[in-house]
C-alpha cells in the first residue's frame, strides 16, 4: 500500500454558492458517486411513488359503508372506511346530542393555537403557558359536564378528542411538576434533592409502556378498598408523572444555562432566594427551553398511541377496533388504509410542531 503525503493533482477550485434556480445537472451529479446514488434513489422513488398512487388513488374505493365496498379485484385503498367512521375517530363514543361541547373545545383550541403561532408578539410566554394550564381545565369541565349539562364519563371519550385532552392534561401537569423536580434537584436540602433525583432517574430508566401497565394493573391494588379510579385517569396520571421526569431534565438544562453571576447579582441587590428565582432565574431558564418543551409536546402526542395497548380508546385504537368491527372485517387493505390515514395525520401535526419549535429556536 502506498501512502501519499503530498497530493499529486490540484483540487478543483470551489465554486461560489449559486443563488440561481436549481441547476438539475449539478443537483443530480455533484460527483459521479452521488450521481449514481441520485439516479438509484430517483428510480426507487418513482417506482414506489407509482405503486402508491396506484394503491391510494387509481384502485381506491371511495364510497360505501361496509367492507363490501372495498372488495375489488384490484386491491386498492379503502378510503370509504376512513370516511364512514369519522365520528369514532374524532370523538369516540361521545353522545351525538352533546357533540357541540366537543366542537367548542376543538374551535377554542384551534383559535388559541392560531393566536400563539401568528401573534407571537402579544402571545407572551406567560400567557401561552397560562393558556396551556387553563385550557385543559376548562375543556375538562365542559366535556365532563355536571350541573345543567348532562355528565359524560371519560370512558365515552375517544379518538382525536381523547388524544388532544390527554396531551393537554399531560402538558398542564407535567410542566409544573417537572419544574418543581428540577428545582428540587438543585435544593440545598439533601432529603428533597435525593427524592427528586431518585424519582427522575427512576422514571427515566423505565419504558413508558411499563409505567402504563403498572397504572393499569398494579395501582388499583395499592388504593384503599372500595376506592376506584377509572383507567383513563390512571393513564393520565402515569403520563403526567413520566413526562414530568422528562420535563425535569429539560428544565434542569435551562436552569444550568443561567449563569451563577445572575443569582449572585440578585442576592447582592437584596433579593431573597425566592424573589431571585421568580424574577431573575426562571424567566431566563424557561425562555431558553421553550423549543425543547415543544419537542416534549411532540413526544407526548406520539406517546398517546401507547394508550391503545392498555385499552384506552385513543385515535389508534379507534382505527383498530373499526377495522375489527363486523361491518369492516375481512379485508387487509382496510386496516392498512386506516394506518396510512393515521400516519398522515400524526405526520402533519408533529411535523408542523417541529417546524414551529425550530422557528422558536432560530428566533432566540
Amino acid at each position: 500500500m502506498t501512502t501519499h503525503f503530498v497530493r499529486q493533482t490540484l483540487i478543483d477550485p470551489r465554486l461560489a454558492p449559486a443563488a440561481a434556480p436549481i441547476d438539475w445537472r449539478r443537483a443530480l451529479f455533484p460527483t459521479p458517486a452521488i450521481g449514481v446514488l441520485s439516479l438509484l434513489l430517483l428510480a426507487l422513488l418513482a417506482m414506489s411513488g407509482w405503486r402508491f398512487v396506484q394503491w391510494a388513488a387509481v384502485h381506491a374505493h371511495w364510497i360505501g359503508d361496509s367492507a363490501e365496498a372495498c372488495t375489488g379485484d384490484a386491491g386498492g385503498a379503502c378510503w370509504a372506511f376512513v370516511a364512514a367512521r369519522w365520528k369514532p375517530w374524532l370523538v369516540g363514543n361521545y353522545p351525538s346530542d352533546q357533540l357541540w361541547r366537543v366542537w367548542i373545545c376543538f374551535a377554542a383550541f384551534a383559535l388559541f393555537w392560531i393566536w400563539v403561532v401568528r401573534r407571537s408578539r402579544t402571545a407572551s410566554l406567560q400567557r401561552v403557558l397560562l393558556g396551556f394550564i387553563l385550557l385543559p381545565v376548562a375543556f375538562f369541565a365542559l366535556l365532563i359536564g355536571g350541573g345543567p349539562l348532562p355528565v359524560v364519563a371519560p370512558t365515552l371519550w375517544g379518538g382525536v378528542l381523547l388524544t388532544l385532552i390527554v396531551t393537554l392534561a399531560t402538558f398542564a401537569t407535567a410542566l409544573p411538576i417537572g419544574l418543581c423536580l428540577a428545582l428540587g434537584r438543585r435544593s440545598r436540602m439533601p432529603v428533597v434533592r435525593w427524592a427528586c433525583i431518585v424519582f427522575v432517574e427512576g422514571m427515566r430508566s423505565v419504558p413508558l409502556l411499563a409505567v402504563l401497565f403498572i397504572a393499569a394493573t398494579l395501582v388499583p391494588l395499592f388504593l384503599p378498598r372500595g376506592f376506584t379510579m377509572n383507567l383513563f385517569s390512571r393513564a393520565v396520571v402515569a403520563f403526567a408523572l413520566f413526562n414530568a421526569a422528562m420535563a425535569a431534565e429539560v428544565f434542569r438544562g435551562g436552569l444550568q444555562a443561567v449563569g451563577r453571576g445572575q443569582i449572585e447579582a440578585a442576592t447582592t441587590v437584596g433579593l431573597s432566594d425566592f424573589a431571585a428565582l421568580r424574577l431573575i432565574v426562571l424567566p431566563q431558564a424557561i425562555t431558553a427551553v421553550v423549543p425543547a418543551l415543544v419537542n416534549i409536546m411532540i413526544a407526548v402526542i406520539k406517546e398517546t398511541t401507547l394508550l391503545s395497548v392498555i385499552g384506552v380508546n385513543d385515535l389508534l385504537s379507534a382505527v383498530e377496533s373499526g377495522a375489527r368491527s363486523p361491518a369492516w372485517i375481512g379485508e387487509a387493505n382496510i386496516l392498512t388504509s386506516g394506518y396510512v390515514f393515521l400516519a398522515a395525520t400524526y405526520l402533519t401535526v408533529c411535523y408542523g410542531l417541529s417546524r414551529y419549535s425550530r422557528r422558536l429556536e432560530a428566533r432566540r
Binding site: H4, F5, V6, R7, Q8, I11, R26, A27, L28, P30, T31, A33, I34, S38, L41, L42, L45, R188, M189, P190, V191, V192, A195, G202, S205, V206, P207, L209, A210, F213, I214, T217, L218, P220, L221, F222, L223, P224, R225, I298, I301, K302, E303, T305, L306, S308, V309, L316, E320, A332, L335, T336, Y339, L342, A343, Y346, L347, C350, Y351, S354
Partner: protein, 327 residues
Amino acid sequence: MSRAVLMERLPGYVAQAVLLAIVAWLVWRGVANFEANARALGLSVGFDFLRSQAGFQIAQSLIDFTPASTYLDAIVAAALNTLLVVALAGVFSTLIGLGIAFGRLAPPGVVRGASSAYVEVFRNIPLLLQILFWYFSAIALLPAVGDSIQFGPVLLNNRGLFLPGLQLDPAIALNRPHVDGFDVAGGFVILPELMALTLGLSIYNSTFLAEIFRAGILSVPRGQSEAAASVGLSGVRAAWLIVLPQALRVALPAAGGQYQTLAKASSLAAAIGYPDIMQIVGGTVASQTSQALEAMTLVVLLYAAINLVIALIVNLLNRRLLAHEGR
C-alpha cells in the same frame, strides 16, 4: 451551631422532616392497602413462583425452553429476546443513521433532499404505528410458505425470514431451510414479529441517530477534511479515517442516550406479541401467576439493568476514545 444559624436553617429541617413523613405515610398506606387487597383477592406474595413450572410455550427462545421449564427460565428467555432485538435494531439503526447523516451533508440535490425527507417523515410518525404497519400491513403481504421468496439459501415468507443455521449434530454442516409441506424445516427462523419490531425500531431510531451523527460531523472543523484532501486522501477515506473518529467522539454521549431510548422502546413488542420482557414477564407471567407486583418489579429491574449496561458500555467506549486522543 449558633442560635442564629439554627433559626435560619430550622424551616429547611422542618420541611425535610415533613417530606420524609409524607413519603413514609404514603408507603405505609400503600403497603397496608396492598396487604388488605391481596388477602381479599386471595393473592400470594413472594418470588417462590419463579421455581414452579411455567406451562406455556415461547415462540422464539435462545435457550432451551419447553412448557416444563420454570418461570425463571421463561424470564431469562424473554430477557435474551429483548437483548436480541435491541442488538439487531442498534446495529441497523446506527448503519442507517450514519448513511442518512452523510446524505444530509451531501451537496444540495436529490440525495440530500431524500435524506432530509426520510428523517422528517419517520421521526414524526409514532413508533407504535410504524411497528403495527410493518407487522399487519407489510409482512402480511409476503407470500405463503409454498411461494417463498428465495435469495440463495435464505427463504422469506409470511412465517418469517429463514436463515441457514449451523448444525453441530451429528456432524458440523450448514443446515439449509427448505419448504416441507405447509411449513419450513431446518435453518434458523426470524419470526415476523421480530422482523417488524426490528424494522420499526431501526427506522425510527435511525432518524434520531442521523441527527446526532450529523451534529457530530458538523462539529469537526472544516480544516480537518481539507487537510485530509490536501494530503491526498479520497473523500471516502477522509470521512472514514479523519472525520468520523472525531465526529463519533462528540456524538457518543447523545447516541448512548438514544440507544437507551431504543432499549426502552423495544417494550412495544407487547403490542404485536413478540416474546420479550414486556410481553412474557409483564403479560403472560403476570396474568398466569396473578402476581402482578412481583412480575412488574422484575420488568422494571430488567429494563433498568439493560439501561445501566448500555450506559456502562458507552462510558467505557467514551473513555477509550478520549484516551486515544491523549487527553
